[in-house]
Assembly symmetry: none
Homo-oligomer: 237 residues x 4
DNA sequence: TATGAATGAGTCTTCATTCAT
DNA sequence: CATGAATGAAGACTCATTCAT
């Protein structure tokens, strides 16, 4: 209960000596900021592996080698931890994404190709990204989905849609595509296989399909479709 | 986890005898098998909405209008409920999928097109499928992923890979594609947007992108790629 | 975390046989409503002894010989338990209180005397009442204070004030008294000593001042004041 | 306990390094004794507002603008802080109280009147006193109750009882009163309304009943009782 | 003098599961 | 066939306290 402030029966429970230091690094200093980073990374790793909702703070603490109370010490609440993750790790990922549209303003195919390659590179560099994107960003009810929208808005998406629609009107892009789906398709073609392959886990067996293959496959699909490609053109000619 | 925000479901009527007398008719028979079906469907709906791990048996019972103990009565354990779901709902979905490869043996493009359309149709008919596929089948650590593999194996996939590779050798399919990724790409292009659009929820406002658009977009992408298409080329010529 | 619905890592933790029945009455039936009553009474006893905020649900459960989870089974949350207490135990206490004003409409002194005696009787019959009144009703920030106001409102108080003010105008009541304080004074003169004396605890040593003395003292004070009383009048005469 | 409602204090700035850099000046010296006094006063204010058991050391530190560790630095443990409060703030309040009995040795009515006025004055000067008296001194199980008894004993009370009893034997005081209750009655008539009125809180809206009214009411009640007073009687004659 | 870091214990709450009826 | 009662385990969060710096 405790309308404004907690703690009960406190008088009853004597302080207790609690002499035996048990877990974690009892002392020997790690440095505050360092510990915080360690926790953030542990959280990202576990969130990617198990999903956000299904990862307990205790699990994160264990992964980082500290007590669960430490997680609260640094982030106060689970929600705030997630907010930190979004602000410090997710939001920065978007950086420079818009530039691609600007640079390749007149060549949509190369723009989308660059975008696909960028996604793959991101997924390789930040292995937690693809799984989290799949599970907690695009899934309805995904934890990050709502928060990202709150924090970041739809601006970026809208811009992309506009650019795509323009290209279509100019006859530079397959007019049968749905502007609002293309972006997602690109991410799906790249991040989905990255999320599935366990390559980002240290202990996994050698994966059959590597980052290279994923990038090549995605680019091939978006540039040429599944058909036999240039050959077909030649034949047509 | 469980933030301090009051759980919506809890408010609706908790397990205890507390206030609301609880739903369902206490007696008056519904018929065993019927009840079982009702529970399975409630489970699918909730699993799709919230993810499997984040749906409690109590929530399922509430959704179906019975007591939590009933769920145990019919399925014994949580794990067994999931197994039932896989056997009775997921596995059947695969049925007839192989036929497409046979029917379109000599025309891979139309085969893949048919496949894409099939996925969209499946997603439309079984609205729980796309979200569950995204969250719990392809996501690493997804609950269904491991079990599906145990129960179903990779046979199907292997067969598809073989067919695709053959088409590539025969020059009928873009050779730059990765056989083991193509199938997943197809599903991604169709199920991903289906999972994201809330169209499967009855109470959602009219979505901007409907099933039609998703199918058309996917087909356009796989058949022609993002480029302006052969027609444009011809015109250019 | 868990936006709408809880439970995490559940998959990881196997059910476990939990063979050893430990506390409580493992079985042997107590009957639902009976248990509920038992819990309410345990709660009242502890709340009276330690205050509401400082009594943990665990303590209540222990007092009633059940697991803490049982408390939630019957009351869902702490707040709801308190609401039940208010509705089922506190509110009924007020019953018939207004009648006193009606019965003694023309004799304020006997009305207030009756009121004082009524308070003492209430405190004797429901030993949890005086301590709870002192700690959680009149104390600012007291848990019951706010809730009682929400549920019951000030109606009763207002009525009493009006009656008192009328008596004063009619010259039947000491005009120097403050109408809005008189009611509280009466309760203070009766419930305060009842709250302090531990007589309501079974294990206390024989108290020096019993219920009788408290009632007599309060009545004497309000009817005659501290002065030597009738004697003075006689002398005056 | 601690209901799900977000603790107001927590929002203000939790212990962790989380977001808000924390209050106070990190360095720049305030002077030890000064700091100690500030803490004592913060503690008194919060204890009065929320009760002793329900005020965390962290809340006190925050109120005083220092780190929670500082509280320990100055007082070692929670219990010792309370002891300091008793010794330095509560015990001194008693000072000079006995003199009243001596001064008005032969006029009990004016002695008790003076006493009542003294209580009101104390409550006005030390606004933390009435709430703490109600909640933590008179309430059974109140934190201060036991400690006060240990540190101060019943001496004072006994003396008062003796004086009162003597007056009664001498026919100067209403013989129907209970000596051991009179003192408490006096405090109840004065401190109780003082504790209830939020006047001691700076931000409260103008209270209807001020210190003046409380004093007048208490004096009127103890000197004349609730009846219309001797005057009325005389008139009747 | 002062504080950041860290922890163990405790609180409320939820949930899967069991069992007697 | 169905359910109410009950429980153990776990999770998030708070807090008093310690300690090295």
């Amino acid at each position: 209960m405790k309308a404004p402030e907690p703690s009960q029966d406190r008088a009853a429970g004597a302080p207790g000596p609690a002499p035996g230091r048990r877990p974690g690094r009892p002392s020997g200093g790690v440095g505050g900021a360092e510990q915080r980073t360690r926790l953030i990374e542990a959280a990202l790793a576990l969130f990617a592996r198990q999903g956000i909702l299904d990862t307990s703070l205790g699990a994160i603490a264990r992964e980082a080698g500290v007590t669960p109370a430490m997680v609260h010490y640094y982030f106060n609440t689970r929600d705030q931890l997630i907010d930190v993750l979004i602000d410090e790790r997710f939001v920065p990922l978007r950086e420079g994404l818009g530039d691609i549209f600007v640079e390749h303003r007149d060549d949509p195919v190369s723009a989308l190709t660059a975008l696909a390659q960028r996604f793959v590179a991101m997924g390789q560099r930040y292995p937690w990204f693809p799984p989290l994107w799949v599970r907690d960003v695009i899934s309805e009810g995904g934890v990050l989905r709502q928060r990202m929208l709150e924090r970041v808005g739809r601006e970026h998406q809208e811009k992309a849609h506009t650019a795509i629609a323009r290209w279509q009107r100019e006859g530079r892009l397959n007019a049968a595509l749905e502007p609002s789906l293309l972006f997602q398709s690109l991410m799906g073609l790249t991040l989905l296989p990255l999320a599935t392959s366990q390559m980002w886990r240290g202990d996994a067996e050698k994966p059959r399909v590597g980052v290279e293959e994923i990038a090549r496959h995605a680019v091939a699909l978006i540039t040429q479709g599944v058909g036999p490609g240039p050959v077909a053109h030649i034949e047509k000619d």
